[in-house]
Structure formats: C-alpha cells, structure tokens
C-alpha cells in the first residue's frame, strides 16, 4: 500500500477524485448522514451482535447435553453436522424465496448466499450495508423457526 492509500485510510476519505459534496456551502456532510440508524443499530447492534448470537443460540439448543447418544468417547450428537448444515441451507433457501408480492422485499439468491457466507461460514471479508441488514431485521424473525425438519410444501 502506497502513501496515498495509507493516508486515505487514516483520513477515512479518498484523496482522488475531488469530493463534490465538500464544495456545498453550509452543509455539514458527515453530520447529515444517518449515524445512529446506520452503524450503531443496523450494522453494529443487529448485524454484528443480534444475528450471530441468535445463530449461536440455535446451535446451543441443537447441540444440547440431552441431545447426545452414547457415553464418553463414543458420544455422538443427535443433530449431526450434516443435519446442522441442512438447517442453514434451509434458512438460506427460505431467504432466497422471499418475493415482493408476499413479503414486500425481494431477496436474490446472491444475497442469501452472501448471508450464509457471512454468518454461517464466518467469512471475514464479507460485509453488509445498513439497508441489506434492514432486510434481515424485517424477515429473520419469521424465517428462524421450524428449521430442523425438512420443508413441507402444501
């Protein structure tokens, strides 16, 4: 990384090109951005705390002490890794099946895969913007239920 890149990181602002919005008179650009909603609530509290802790709670319940066969070294979980993987795959498929006529939001398969990469596979390079997290805030409470059994289609 050159000096320009280091400086841009330090300033949290790109040096090229010239920012047109800083030429606006009487407008405090950073202050005009929605701070609380964007990072502290949506990205921070919900995206980085509530969703991972919900997933953690699910795994804790599905891998509870009473859900193990055998004793000692021969203990094996009732909910196998394969079943656990199917739970998250089911959640991903439910997420991607949302459409605007029934849920008021349209979720693509790419978004659902991004969600799985980020929260199930713990991919450190994946992030979500505030509006993308807002979709999860609206939909996850309805999707995070009855995930252990296969879907029953009418």
């Amino acid at each position: 990384m050159g000096q320009v890149g280091d400086k841009e990181r330090e300033l949290k602002h790109k040096l090229r090109p010239r920012n047109a919005f800083l030429q606006a008179e009487g407008l405090n650009l950073p202050a005009a951005c929605p701070r609380e909603e964007l990072h502290q609530f949506l990205i921070g509290l919900y995206g980085e705390y509530v969703i991972p802790s919900s997933m953690h709670k699910f795994i804790q319940v599905l891998r509870g002490k009473e859900l193990y066969f055998g004793q000692g070294d021969f203990k094996r979980p009732l909910v196998t890794d394969q079943m656990l993987r199917a739970v998250w795959a089911r959640l991903r498929d439910r997420l991607s099946s949302l459409d605007s006529s029934s849920s008021m939001v349209e979720v693509t398969t790419a978004y659902a895969t991004h969600f799985t990469d980020m929260y199930v596979d713990k991919h450190t390079g994946k992030h979500m913007t505030g509006d993308r997290v807002r979709i999860l805030l609206l939909t996850l409470p309805f999707l995070l239920r009855d995930l252990i059994a296969p879907e029953v289609w009418p």
């Binding site: 090109p17 047109a20 919005f21 030429q23 950073p30 951005c33 913007t129 505030g130 509006d131």
Partner: protein, 164 residues
C-alpha cells in the same frame, strides 16, 4: 410535494460494467465510477449553492408573503450511497471516529467528524501527495519500489565485484 411530477431525473449515468470497458483494471473502474458520480454532482451543487446564497420571498398557503432562505439536506441513503457521497469506505463510520470493531457500542460517543476539518485535512494531504492534475506524485506511489531498487543495485554491485 406528493404529486408524481414533483421529481425529475437529472440525467442517465452510463453503465460502467467490466464487459463494456476497454480498461479492465478494477481500481481504475472504481475511481472512474466515483469520479463520474462526483462530477455529475458538481453542477447540481453549484446551482444549489446559488439558490441557498440569499433570502427569497415566498407566498404561503395563507396568502401571506414571508421572507425565507432555502437550505438543503441529504435525504435517506443506504451504506453504499453514503460511502460514495462521503468517499469513505463502508468499513468505517463516515460520521464519527468509531473504529470498525467497536461499531456495536452504544454507550460511548465517539468524536464526530465535520466537513470543515475533513476538507482541510484532505486538501493538505492532496497538496502533499498529488500533482496539480490529480495524479499521484512519483515518490508517493509505492514505498516498496525503493526497497526493490536497493536490492537490484545490491545485486548489480555484487556482480560487478565478481567480474572485477
């Protein structure tokens, strides 16, 4: 302003997709896209500055004329739009100095950033690191270049000693 003609499209931006460009450098494309967006906003901001520069007289619904001044404020934007407008990465908070790994802290108010300070610091950095035409100064491109040059000189000198 609930009528359907209360808004007007200002222009259509060309698609900067990789397949539509002759330059396939991702960094160049990112810079070009950001530059295009900000150059499009230049005339809009100039007109808004002119509109907001002086008081105007408005006739209100009660048929009284009052003196007023226009002001402008940014509307709701999502993370990527804020990143493009403030030219800040989505990894950072453009509004305050909160580090990325502390974004979920709601009990602490980090120092807020303001346009005047950001602008002054950016202009100082631009003067130090960029040429007047906006290109990067030669000695600011890559520090690792000096290290590589030193290695090459060292190898050449070694061979020179060996030959002598």
């Amino acid at each position: 302003m609930s009528r359907p003609y209360a808004w007007r499209p200002l222009g259509l931006l060309p698609i900067l997709k990789t397949s539509a460009l002759t330059v396939d450098n991702v960094a160049w494309q990112r810079h070009r896209r950001l530059d295009l967006y900000h150059r499009c906003m230049d005339p809009v901001i100039a007109e808004l500055n002119e509109l907001c520069a002086e008081d105007k007289y408005f006739r209100f619904a009660d048929k009284k004329v009052r003196q007023g001044r226009c002001f402008w404020h940014l509307l709701s934007m999502d993370g990527l739009e804020i990143a493009a407008t403030t030219m800040c990465n989505t990894d950072n908070c453009p509004v305050c100095e909160c580090p990325k790994d502390e974004l979920d802290r709601t009990d602490f108010l980090y120092p807020l950033r303001d346009s005047a300070t950001v602008k002054a610091r950016v202009e100082a950095a631009q003067a130090a690191l960029l040429e007047p035409d906006g290109t990067i100064k030669r000695n600011c491109k890559k520090q690792v270049g000096h290290a590589m040059a030193a290695v090459v000189v060292y190898i050449c000198l070694s061979w020179y000693d060996f030959i002598i």
